[in-house]
C-alpha cells in the first residue's frame, strides 16, 4: 500500500484540480464533526467529514434506522417572480408547469448541446401574497458558482429575483426508516403531511425553516434548511436521540446503491440526460422550447449512442471509477462509479456502454488490475427501499 489517503470521489477534473490550492471552506456544523472525531476529506472545495463511526455502520444506520448528514456545502437559491416557472422552463428539460405548490422536481440545467451543467432539485412554493411565484433550488457544492452565473445570465433578472442562501443556511439530511420519528419532536408541523418529494415551510426548534421529504440515499427521509444556530441545535438534538452522524463515504455508497448519479463523475457537461438514463425527467411532449431541446429531440428520434447502465459484478472484485468495460476483449466503456454494495453484499457499478450492449442481462467484463472479470447489466436502482413512501 503506497498511498493510504482515502481515495474518495474522483471528482470533476474541471472544478477540483485548480491551479492554485485555495483554503477549504467549512460549514457551520464542521466543529461538530471535529468534536465527534470524524475523519475528514476535501470535497468540492469543502473540508467535510468522510466518516464518523465507519462507512459500513453509517450505511446500515440509514438503511435500518436513521442517519444524518451535514450537506450545508450544497448550493441553495431562493427565487421569486411573476413568471418564475415560465422563466425556469427555458433552462430545464422537465415540465415545471405541472408542479403544484409544495411539490418538487429533480431535474438538470442543460447547455445548448444538452450537456448537464448540474443536477438540481426545484422546490415550488406557490404564490406569495403579492401573486409572485416562489421556489428554492438546491444544487451541488462544487457547481454552485457556475450554476449561479448560468441562472443569472439566462433568467430575466427584471422578472426573477434570485437570492443566494448558500452561506446563510445550514442543510441537514435526516435519512432512514426512522427519520420521521426522530425528527418529528423538533418540528411543530405534522411531518406525515409531507409526501415524498413534497416540502413545507415549517417551524423547527421554534424557528422558521424549510423541510423537504427528499434525499440522496434511496431511503425515506428529510432535508431541513435552517439558520446556522438552529442547525447546530438540531444536530445535537438528533444526536442525543440516537440518529447516527454520517459522512460523505456512506452518502456515496448509499446513493450508488440507489443508482443516483454523482455530478462530475456519472454526469457532466459532456453527457445528456438521455444518455445518463434520466429520460424520465425529459418531457419533450408537454413543454415548449428549452436550452438543449433540439439535441435531445435528435437523440430521441435516432437513439443515443451510449447509455449509463447498472452493472453487477459476478465475483467479489470491485469495479471502480475509471476502470475499463470490455466486450469480447474490446474496450467499450468506462466505469463512472463503483463500490461494494453494503446492503446487497456484491459489487455494483455505473458505466457508459454502447446502446446495443446496454440491455438488462448483457454480459460484459470489467478490467481490474490487468485481468478481465465478468459483469452483467442489471436494472437500476440496485437497491429499492421497502420503507420508501410512494410519491
Amino acid at each position: 500500500m503506497q498511498e493510504l489517503a482515502i481515495q474518495l470521489f474522483v471528482t470533476n477534473k474541471e472544478e477540483l484540480t485548480p491551479e492554485i490550492t485555495l483554503p477549504l471552506a467549512q460549514t457551520p456544523l464542521f466543529q461538530l464533526a471535529v468534536e465527534l472525531k470524524a475523519r475528514l476529506t476535501s470535497f468540492g472545495g469543502w473540508e467535510m467529514p468522510v466518516q464518523f463511526i465507519g462507512i459500513g455502520r453509517e450505511h446500515e444506520a440509514v438503511r435500518t434506522s436513521a442517519g444524518m448528514f451535514d450537506i450545508s456545502h450544497m448550493g441553495k437559491f431562493a427565487m421569486q417572480g411573476n413568471q418564475l416557472i415560465s422563466q425556469l422552463q427555458h433552462l430545464v428539460p422537465s415540465d415545471l408547469s405541472r408542479l403544484q405548490p409544495c411539490q418538487a422536481q429533480y431535474t438538470v440545467l442543460l447547455n445548448p448541446e444538452a450537456g448537464i451543467i448540474d443536477d438540481i432539485i426545484f422546490y415550488y412554493q406557490g404564490k406569495d401574497e403579492t401573486g409572485e411565484q416562489r421556489g428554492i433550488i438546491i444544487v451541488n457544492a462544487a457547481t454552485t458558482g457556475k450554476d449561479k452565473a448560468w441562472l443569472n445570465s439566462h433568467l430575466d433578472l427584471n422578472q426573477v429575483n434570485l437570492q443566494d442562501l448558500s452561506s446563510e443556511k445550514v442543510l441537514i439530511a435526516i435519512q432512514g426508516p426512522q427519520a420521521a420519528a426522530a425528527l418529528q419532536p423538533f418540528v411543530q408541523e405534522d411531518l406525515a403531511q409531507i409526501k415524498s418529494f413534497g416540502h413545507l415551510e415549517a417551524t423547527v426548534l421554534g424557528q422558521k425553516s424549510f423541510i423537504a421529504r427528499t434525499g440522496y440515499t434511496g431511503e425515506d427521509g428529510f432535508e431541513v434548511m435552517v439558520q446556522p444556530s438552529v442547525g447546530v441545535e438540531l444536530w445535537r438534538s438528533l444526536y442525543e436521540v440516537g440518529v447516527i452522524p454520517c459522512g460523505l463515504g456512506a452518502r456515496d455508497t448509499l446513493r450508488l446503491e440507489a443508482a443516483m448519479a454523482l455530478y462530475g463523475q456519472d454526469i457532466d457537461e459532456t453527457t445528456t440526460p438521455l444518455e445518463a438514463s434520466l429520460s424520465w425527467l425529459v418531457h419533450l411532449d408537454t413543454k415548449g422550447d428549452f436550452i438543449g431541446r433540439s439535441v435531445l429531440e435528435q437523440q430521441k428520434s435516432i437513439g443515443v449512442k451510449r447509455r449509463l447502465v447498472g452493472l453487477q459484478m459476478q465475483g467479489r472484485n470491485i469495479a471502480r471509477h475509471g476502470y475499463q468495460v470490455l466486450s469480447q476483449k474490446k474496450i467499450i466503456g468506462e466505469i463512472t462509479s463503483g463500490t461494494l454494495s453494503l446492503t446487497l453484499g456484491y459489487p455494483v457499478a455505473l458505466a457508459y456502454v454502447p446502446t446495443q450492449l446496454s440491455q438488462v442481462g448483457q454480459q460484459l467484463e470489467v478490467e481490474i488490475r490487468g485481468k478481465a472479470y465478468p459483469a452483467v447489466v442489471v436494472k437500476r436502482p440496485f437497491y429499492r427501499s421497502l420503507n420508501r413512501l410512494a410519491s
Binding site: 500500500m1 503506497q2 493510504l4 482515502i6 474518495l8 462507512i55 456515496d252
Partner: protein
C-alpha cells in the same frame, strides 16, 4: 485509539509487516493500515506455490473507498494463504498481527528482511504522518 506495533515484526513504509520464523515469513498489514483503510471488504492474494518478490505488488486490499496494492518485505514462495480472511476480509481488522495474517512464505533469503523498518522506526514514521 493507541495503535500497537509488535517489536518482533519488520515493517514497510507501505504498511505491511513480516514475522520471520526460520525460513517461514508471515505477511500481513499493520494496525495503522487497518485504521486508515476503514472497513476492509476485499482481499486479492496470490495462490499457494506462487512466487512473491520483494518490491513487487503481490495482491491488493480494498476498503469501501480505497484499493491499495500489497508489498512484501521479503521474497519467497507462498506456502499458505489465509482462506478465512479471503472469505471474511473485514476480520483482518480484529487481529491484524494474529488471526488476520495474509500469507505465509518460504523465504529465499532471510537476510532480505533486514532492509525493512523496525517497530520503532515504523512507529516514528506513521506517527509523523
Amino acid at each position: 485509539m493507541l495503535l500497537e506495533y509488535p517489536s518482533d515484526l519488520k515493517y514497510l513504509d507501505s504498511h505491511e509487516y513480516a514475522r520471520l520464523d526460520g525460513e517461514i515469513a508471515t505477511i500481513g498489514i499493520s494496525a495503522f493500515a487497518v485504521d486508515q483503510l476503514g472497513d476492509i471488504v476485499f482481499l486479492e492474494l496470490p495462490e499457494v506455490g506462487d512466487a512473491v518478490t520483494k518490491g513487487e505488488s503481490f495482491g491488493s486490499v480494498e476498503s469501501v473507498k480505497a484499493v491499495e496494492d500489497l508489498y512484501s518485505p521479503i521474497s519467497g514462495t507462498v506456502i499458505e494463504r489465509n482462506e478465512a480472511m479471503l472469505e471474511s476480509p473485514e476480520q483482518v481488522a480484529e487481529d491484524p498481527y494474529g488471526e488476520g495474517w495474509l500469507l505465509k512464505l518460504r523465504v529465499n533469503d532471510p537476510g532480505e528482511v533486514d532492509d525493512a523498518l523496525s517497530a520503532d522506526e515504523y512507529r516514528a514514521q506513521v506517527e509523523g504522518e
